[in-house]
Symmetry: C2
Subunit: 365 residues, 2 copies
């Protein structure tokens, strides 16, 4: 069995604690299956800045490029608020996304039955929810130039960000959306602000053309991003796959995650384009939640989103569908058995810390 190279980048805040639990599961995988996973580790975010003055070093970038998949924890925290913009913790994550070409960010918003009551929404609105937000991840306002603050010399400054999309960027994310929808319920909802933004007009046009020319057997709907956000809050189950740009995707996927009441549970996958020769695609897997500096280092963080990110890694990077499903089932079983970290604690359940939660999932795997 060929070895499988994983790069583990725990990052900041609760990142290292939850990464340890992912590592635990990888050890089990190596024992139980012929996984053959080899793990290297590196620094990213504030941790990397403290170490080498950059949010990610060139050496770590090379390791990432050479790996079969990156497992990423989380970055950022108030400690690095004063750091220059180019070196802030998030810059490490953005560099990974951009240089690895990870244009397709899959963010499933599912509601674990055992947690339906943890949502701020009424149970019947989110029970059984299973939607997928596909966010464009290497374009838009995140990377467009100019991006600057200019001194106008009259006591005034001007700050500028630029949202840019080219044809090929929208085509490839649209194709990814339709391909994913085909394995699901066959419906794609594209969201933009075509009534205000030229990138929205263009996004709408390209997605519609890709649909017409290549996927006309599937359903395509369009929503303005603000109206789409409302529908998400009102009746999220009407969606299947939502495809949207980098910034709207950031907002909408976080809101969708929060709707489920399961923020600490939700993983994500960021995928590049398959290599022409090997078919291998660069990939990074990370929880949707952030670095939660307020609870870092206390051993109480919920590691499930990180473990579920490992499950996505098995599925999308290694086609280990059976193992991915087994890991997801182990998570669901753990929850059904009433084992909870503080963030999802409920009456009658047993409250555990990060490490016990990792153990509980490992035992059920």
């Amino acid at each position: 069995m060929a070895s499988r190279k994983l790069l583990l980048l725990p990052g900041d805040g609760i990142g290292p604690e939850i990464a340890t639990e992912a590592q635990k599961l990888i050890t089990v995988l190596n024992e139980a299956t012929e996984g053959g996973f080899e793990i290297e580790s590196g620094l990213v975010g504030g941790a990397a800045y403290d170490d080498c003055g950059e949010a990610i070093s060139d050496t770590t970038m090379e390791l990432a490029q050479a790996s079969d998949a990156v497992l990423f924890g989380s970055v950022g925290g108030p400690r690095w608020d004063g750091v220059p913009y180019e070196k802030r913790p998030e810059a490490g994550l953005l560099r990974l996304r951009k240089e690895m070409g990870l244009f397709a960010n899959l963010r499933p918003a599912i509601c674990y039955p055992a947690l339906a009551d943890a949502s701020s929404l009424k149970r019947h609105i989110i029970e059984g929810l299973d939607i997928l937000i596909l966010r464009e991840l290497t374009g838009g306002v995140y990377f467009g130039e100019p991006k600057e603050i200019v001194d106008l010399g009259n006591g005034q400054k001007r700050a500028v960000d630029t949202q840019v999309y080219e044809t090929y960027e929208i085509e490839r994310i649209a194709r990814a959306a339709f391909e994913l929808a085909r394995t699901r319920r066959g419906k794609v909802t594209s969201m933009e602000k075509r009534n205000v933004m030229k990138t929205g007009v263009f996004w709408n046009e390209v997605v519609s053309r890709v649909h017409r020319e290549e996927f006309s057997d599937l359903t395509l709907e369009h929503e303005l991003a603000d109206a789409g956000g409302m529908k998400l809050v009102r009746e999220p189950k009407q969606f299947d796959v939502i495809v949207t740009d980098n910034l709207f995707g950031d907002m909408l996927s976080d809101i969708a995650a929060m709707l489920t009441g399961s923020l600490g549970m939700l993983p994500s996958a960021s995928l590049g384009k398959p290599d022409d020769a090997s078919g291998r695609r660069k990939a990074l897997y990370e929880p949707v939640h952030g670095s939660a500096p307020d609870i870092a280092g206390q051993g109480i963080a919920n590691p499930i989103a990180m473990i579920a990110s490992l499950a996505m890694c098995l599925r999308y990077s290694f086609a280990m569908t059976r193992e991915a499903e087994a890991l997801e089932a182990a998570i669901a079983d753990t929850l059904n058995d009433g084992i909870r970290t503080g963030d999802i604690m409920a009456e009658g359940c047993r409250k555990v810390g990060t490490s016990e939660m990792g153990d509980a999932v490992a035992e059920r795997f």
Copy 2:
């Protein structure tokens, strides 16, 4: 009593129907008080385009500039999907906002007690909700240049939008936020994406300085817009005034409106800077909801957001606080009496149409 000049711009979809109900209330106001309101009407949006080929004519713009306040219905609909970008219905609204200098958009998200169960959120999460989203309305990505789609000549096109903010634009909206917070619970939460956008870094910096130098007795908090959106869904009552840019404000205020379960109920005010000499500020009042083309012309639309926009007009343009409160009380009484349009219908209530709803509020005023 000096006359008060209102320009009524019903617009498209359900706009004309709900505008008629606002007019009904103005008639009552003129009879009951010494309001002395004079109403002129004009076309905007698709209706204006059909009439003169523009989303608003220069003549109507002049009327708007000369009025004491504009009452705006709603614009847009699939009928005008093929219209050139510069002439699309929304362009009329955007021109009004920009040329009248309406930089401060007040969007209260309140939960009417009688409607708490209409929300998709659990009752205890939204009962008693009363927050105010203050959205910057004449800057950001809505108006920045370049804003274009360019043919790159190799089968590829590139679309660009530009988000721009200058010092004075952020200063004045920040001041407006603090002044509003002072009349409320004294807390402002500023939202941006400073971890990704230079305009976010700059926004954060200017709002912080205005707070430090001019309003340090009030509380200022900062949230990343994505995290802020999540907190809004999770626990909206933690906020008082939220101040944010044009695009985030569009998304967040719609989501907040939907949380309340009272979208058809929520008004907004868009205000300019007070004139140095007269103290008068240009103003436009409009419902937060859209033109709902699917139910237009059936006499079933909910006119309450439009009537509540008139109440905001009384308060902010004419300092008629007592009358504004009486009108708001009449709305609450109508709801408490179980009178409902279809969108907010509940068991045991009486279902009425647009015109009956207007009558019901007028009777209780």
